[in-house]
């Protein structure tokens, strides 16, 4: 199945009517979900599950059971930036709905459907008024810290192998 064509594209703006306040609030939530997704996509399924285990989760159901498919990775090429199809990547996705109505989506590289489901669940919880704060504090924040540590470690290891090249100036000067 080609997922690229049916990537969920629910018009976020359509649910926002009227006041600027609501737009701001909406944008904040979008930013928060985006940040959470950036962390969750890099975490292991086991790590997320372990952190969620301490929660008394609200009732939820799979709006879309986990499934795997392909998405086309596109880049730009040439001076004019024409689109270039790099290749297809395997992606898993899921959608989970809480009993209170929040719907979360999970997309992740690879075939780990359970991870996509957990991400979707976290995404739904982040939007929920009752659980948003707790999930941010007890799940996302620790995972983000772990991710940062891993990245810094990798950066430090790479930095240790850095070689400075210099060229002796030839000729006069």
């Amino acid at each position: 199945m080609k997922l690229s064509i049916i990537i969920d594209n629910f018009d976020a703006a359509s649910s926002v009517r009227g006041s600027v306040d609501r737009v701001t609030q909406h944008n904040n939530q979008q930013a928060q979900r985006k940040a959470a997704m950036a962390v969750l996509a890099h975490a292991e399924a086991g790590e997320i599950a372990a952190r969620l285990r301490d929660f008394t989760l609200p009732d939820h159901q799979d709006l879309r059971a986990p499934e795997s498919g392909l998405v086309m990775l596109r880049g730009r090429v040439g001076g004019d930036g024409a689109p270039f199809n790099l290749g297809e990547a395997t992606v898993s996705r899921a959608a989970v709905r809480l009993a209170s109505g929040e719907v979360g989506f999970g997309y992740t590289l690879g075939r780990d459907g359970e991870k996509a489901r957990l991400i979707a669940l976290c995404d739904a919880l982040v939007q929920s008024r009752d659980f948003g704060g707790a999930v941010e504090r007890d799940v996302i924040a620790p995972l983000r810290e772990q991710l940062m540590v891993r990245r810094e470690q990798a950066a430090a290891e790479t930095a240790a192998t850095k070689v400075d090249f210099y060229t002796m100036v030839r000729g006069e000067g």
């Binding site: 064509i5 629910f10 799979d62 879309r64 059971a65 709905r97 109505g101 719907v103």
Partner: protein, 202 residues
């Protein structure tokens, strides 16, 4: 305003539910007039029946243009649900549709307005999925044709009342033609283009 939060879920077990629904529809096509049951595995947005929803999840995808009659198209729930779960493009021109979902048979457009296939590709015709009142009461119809040993009796209350008269166009068109799937809740009956119908009254 309907948000995605209110949409009914898709199949809980995609593979097994789709396989079992496919099997039911295939058996219905192979034995015209026989009533097959679909094990409902998914929710359905109004005014879609459970059987229709299962068929939609099984057969529709982004390669199957879809035509909705006014009854179906006026429900934003149905349109959103189909888009979310199947990704099938909804088209306004019924003559290029792979499937047509008919919620209210009373205003079924003339069958010539659907895709009839071509002589080279007779399979490229529209399959009508018609929601009917009942498939176990109403008028009797005698069906004959491939897949039927002698004659099969079908009892159904169907709108439009002259559906089977209209389907006589399949006789002249063959191998082109329209296939029809009748759905009443979780019961399915298929009338492929090869089936000939004699109405028997009530």
């Amino acid at each position: 305003m309907t948000t995605i939060a209110e949409l009914p879920p898709g199949f809980a077990d995609k593979v097994l539910s789709a396989q079992s629904t496919f099997r039911s529809v295939m058996d219905a096509m192979a034995r015209p007039g026989s009533v097959q049951r679909i094990v409902p595995g998914a929710g359905a947005p109004e005014p879609m029946m459970r059987g229709t929803a299962a068929i939609a999840l099984t057969l529709f995808d982004h390669d199957t243009p879809l035509w909705l009659d006014a009854r179906m198209a006026e429900s934003t729930d149905v349109v959103k649900w189909l888009k979310f779960h199947t990704g099938a493009p909804v088209v306004q021109d019924s003559s290029i549709a792979s499937f047509a979902l008919i919620g209210d048979g009373a205003v079924l457009p003339a069958l010539e307005r659907f895709a009839l296939g071509t002589s080279e590709y007779p399979d490229r015709s529209t399959t009508l999925i018609l929601q009917v009142e009942s498939l176990d009461s109403g008028r009797f119809f005698e069906l004959r044709g491939p897949g039927i040993d002698g004659a099969a009796m079908l009892q159904a209350s169907i709108k439009p009342f002259d559906l089977f008269e209209r389907l006589h166009l399949n006789e002249a068109l063959f191998p082109r033609g329209i296939d029809v799937v009748l759905v009443a809740d979780d019961a399915v009956v298929a009338i492929p283009r090869t089936t000939r119908i004699v109405s028997k009254g009530s």
